[in-house]
Subunit: 112 residues, 4 copies
């Protein structure tokens, strides 16, 4: 198979949590705020929650913005940056972050 | 060192995303709704977002409820269940999920 | 449903990567070595690789040892500890870590 | 800040575990074998273990190959593909997967 001609997915979501290592301070809020700015500047749809940030868009764009977030956090002085990520793609339909939460809430409502 | 006498952390948060494998259907909403019920029944504080659920409480209780979620999803017919989890503990202070989000939002507000 | 009577899975594997936050040093090798010791002391089957450690055993025992690992790393001075974990359970058969790798290698061999 | 001019990291490692969802079969070995082929074809350094695959290289190349792996697994019939990933970058030095494991093993040896 010619793997060079295979494309990355046109749509995905990535939920990521970035941790700066070796900064000497326990608070990561400043770094997380920087990450929010770079994600916002990308123009991609995103939502922040207490354990990470979910970004939606084409695979390459989503991964680029998370890579830029690493670079930004390195620039604030962190020598190591570690990210935990969950990425999902599907070919059957488009489903936004809100759709997913609503679908589960509807099921919970129905089963009451 | 006597490792048997070491305790698990008295407090943690765990953000988890559970995926049933080999069910033949692409929708996981029914399984996620079941997971929400078992988490709610635990009495622990939790929030659902589009890419997972965050539970807060003592380490053992949090891990037990996620283990029960696996069992529940197996009972719905899934032969394999795969979970991705992020877990955090800290010894300096208590910080809730809301506190964390608010701290970042305040920083973003200040830097405007 | 009576959720209190539900058991956690009798067998699972957990692949985890623990990161101490706010230690002021970029090397985490000392902390990872401590983690290896507590995992070894548990008597559970485990393997270390460059991006984490895989532990196999009953759900409660596996989660307890990872919780103890957090406590141990806190005792070395880290105020925050963050772990990324992948956990899998299956009800159809037992499959060890070695079995899984071998199965894939056999398929790659066959398709040559 | 001009976020458009920021680069992604020149080097990273990504440890990923890809799960096809809704395939109707519990075995994922065939899909994992396909993923190994696309990773191998990239020319990047990689190692497979029982809970995932670790790839090393420039951020963009590593993320492209994982995106191609999603596409490949979609082509085998999986409508949804879910990946859990750990990504690390550092600016102080290059450290390979082998270096990391060896450093921990040396520490364990010394402390015997």
């Amino acid at each position: 198979m010619d793997y060079s001609s295979i494309n990355t997915p046109p749509a995905c979501y990535a939920d990521f949590c970035l941790v700066p290592v070796g900064t000497g301070t326990t608070s990561v809020a400043a770094e997380v705020a920087e990450v929010q700015k770079v994600v916002k500047a990308s123009g991609l749809k995103y939502t922040m929650h207490s354990a990470g940030t979910t970004v939606e868009g084409p695979w390459d764009e989503v991964m680029t913005v998370i890579g830029k977030a690493h670079t930004i956090v390195h620039q604030t002085g962190a020598v190591r940056v570690q990210t935990s990520m969950r990425v999902g793609t599907r070919t059957d339909k488009k489903q936004t972050a809100e759709d997913k939460v609503k679908r589960v809430q509807d099921l919970l409502e129905e089963s009451k």
